[in-house]
Amino acid sequence: MEYKNFKMPEDINVTKEHPLKNFFYLLLGVASIMVATLLIFFYSIGYVAKWIPFEKEVEWLQTIETSLDGDKAGDFLRELVFPGAAETVNTQSQKNKLRAEEITAYLQSLSDQLSLAQDLPASMKITVHYIDQPIINAFATVGGNVFIYQGLIDAVSSENGLSMVLAHEIAHVNNRHPIVALSRSLGLGVMLSLVTGIGGNNLSTNLASHFNLLTTLAFSRKQENQSDVDAYNTLLKYYGHGLGATELFSVLVESDQASRLPELLNSHPLSENRIERLNTLGAAIAANCAKAPFSCVLTKLPEFVRAPIGQ
């Protein structure tokens, strides 16, 4: 009997299929499942976050502020949640400090009255922070903290306009938009780094970048519209008319152009929509005032809140 080693066919153990074909099928499948999961996660967490008690939100913020006090990480986090706040305190001279306190007190009292007009729950306390920087912007963040820049105060022409901005930010807090945005970005950040392993040890930096998105207030267009409507209704209730409400829109259009918002979340139709609604709202206000039993007049802003000339 004769023995032989036969030549084996090549495609028994090794597939003839191109490795890239296999790879792309896999990648496509896994990626679509991942995206679907993330989307479900994103929307469900946004829904759930609304039910986080406001007290817990405040408590959590205080934990960050106190437990990490003096710590570098604490400063870092605080700066992320309240951008520009630390900087302002450091650069203020004694005279400016007094002025800032005065303006803060004024904004706070205005905000308290508007909160009342907006029927905020008693437990929901709005804290207004004033930032002495010539930036046309205002934003709301977690814990009922609302930030108003000097640039914005200079941009509006009446107290009504400023009230509209304040009421808009208060409406964000009332509708729990900041905590929803925070929960979403934190949740997504954690989930993404869990799934991909990207970031790994740099989880904190990862989270930080998500925090940044939050603090520049990338609320969705739907949330903005909702806050606009709430703010306008607050104005109606507080002043008895909606005059000056459109000032907000011009201001926001301008701040859009200043574009402190990330490109991705700051889509162009935003400003255009606002201009369009500005016109319809303007017409509605005019019609409203025409049949009002009282005269519609704008309330003047106190002089001291304007930026001193030469600054």
Binding site: Y3, K4, N5, F23
Partner: protein, 151 residues
């Protein structure tokens, strides 16, 4: 963003060099298998016949082949859904055949023409360590004989 770019570059490098090496290796394996075809290998413990056996010696061949980044990434995707890990199949195929070829080369160096009781051992290097590209080792060994029957 940079993470993704980095990943993409690694994948590209892994794919390009990995596939090049694999193709070249398979060509070389097929060519050398032809050269060593007359050295018979048996899984049986004992030779068919002891007649004329003049020499018996342990022969072996050892090979370590590294996984490239592309293969590893494709395999980790496969881990999520299950199924044939084709990128590793070709890797192990190369390792087995190369080890057997080296064993045959060892036998020829020692003047032997038959190998019985052929066994394969595999081990993975850097087993357990997470973020490292691993390598696979295959060791083929057997009893080489100088047999005059049937030749």
């Amino acid at each position: 963003m940079y993470d993704l770019m980095f990943l993409f570059i690694l994948l590209l490098l892994g794919y390009f060099f990995g596939q090049m090496a694999e193709k070249r290796h398979f060509r070389s394996i097929i060519k050398r298998e032809e050269e060593y075809r007359e050295i018979l290998t048996f899984a049986k413990r004992f030779p068919i016949s002891n007649e004329g056996d003049q020499k018996a010696e342990l022969v072996g061949g050892n090979v370590v082949i590294s996984v490239d980044y592309f293969k590893r990434f494709a395999a980790s995707l496969r881990n999520l859904v299950g199924g044939r890990v084709t990128t590793y199949e070709s890797l192990l195929e190369r390792a087995r055949r190369e080890a057997i070829l080296r064993m045959k080369a060892d036998a020829r160096r020692k003047g032997l023409n038959t190998i019985v009781n052929v066994k394969l051992e595999t081990a993975s290097i850097s087993k357990g360590s997470q973020s490292q590209v691993g390598a696979v080792e295959v060791y083929a060994y057997g009893t080489g004989l100088l047999s005059s029957h049937n030749l």
